[in-house]
Symmetry: C2
Subunit: 156 residues, 2 copies
DNA sequence: TCAATACTGGATGTATAGATCCAGTATCTC
DNA sequence: GAGATACTGGATCTATACATCCAGTATTGA
């Protein structure tokens, strides 16, 4: 609701945003593992919460944990092989609208025009995410000065 | 977070979904006002909550309240002149990403590639919503049997 | 005018996303 | 092997979206 408009429409939940930040930060330093603490500082995500997010990403094999001294997390695959869609799905699976949200069990599985439209919008977003990799996000073609500290040079 | 995946990625909040359902239901019976109770039944939205949603829509002049006997709500404008974007903005304004969510006040207002991508996705959704009216949603060109009860014939 | 209808608005309750804490365990370095 | 580092997982706390309740007010129609 947000009568006072504290919250506003967002395509991304906070958690998805956090996951993406973490992955981009990892991609920027693809060689050496980074600890949760380090990542939390760079991405400005609350440390303990980021820890949970990283666990989700770990379960989905997007990142690899390394314990002990000099441990931390690193990407499981090169940035070019990890899509935004995978990242999103790791923390909050995109669920296309399969059946009418009203729960009417009439006339098979067809959606009414309203939810067809809504699902189409979802599909658009999904497609955009699927076709974008972490490498794409890191690439700064136009060299516009980035506001975020992520896009360091990708080391070798 | 949703470790158990109770919740999943959604472009629409519950409240936005409710607002759209209500507007579509109103558009389907564009002539006679419908009471909150009637709308709640058709749209399967909790009555008291729908009441709040309708108040938001009313404040944004998308619907008009009519008090007393034979009262209810009706659309302020013909369905063709109300866009999905207006409906969404009435309950949860879409906020484009203006500044880096990290709050860094560096280098003017440019976004890093990550948030550029994210904002681009938002823009896509916004555009899709802006170009769709309630009338579009009601129109059932392919005559696929709707799963939802909304698209009654629009009466004269 | 009266009574019924229906919206209004504030107060309050509940469920869930977001955030924290800490004891336990694995790994590294010396 | 010892100690330090760092992830793991469960329990708990908080903020907010979602939902309810009710007294008050405006309107209708007889």
């Amino acid at each position: 609701m947000s009568t006072s408009y504290f919250w506003s429409f967002a395509v991304f939940s906070q958690t998805v945003e956090y996951a993406l930040r973490a992955l981009v930060a990892l991609a920027a330093e693809a060689n050496c593992p980074q600890t949760t603490r380090q990542l939390a500082k760079v991405t400005k995500v609350p440390g303990p919460y980021l820890s949970k997010v990283l666990q989700l990403l770990s379960k989905q094999k997007l990142v690899e944990p390394h314990r002990g001294v000099r441990g931390g997390f690193s990407l499981s695959r090169p940035p070019r092989q990890i899509t935004i869609l995978e990242a999103v799905n790791a923390v909050e699976p995109i669920e296309r609208i399969q059946v009418c949200p009203l729960g009417l069990k009439a006339h098979g599985k067809r959606l009414c025009p309203l939810h067809k439209k809504m699902d189409a919008a979802l599909a658009e977003v999904e497609r955009a995410f699927a076709s974008t990799t972490l490498a794409d996000v890191l690439a700064e073609p136009s060299a516009s000065v980035p506001l975020c500290p992520f896009p360091h040079a990708v080391r070798a």
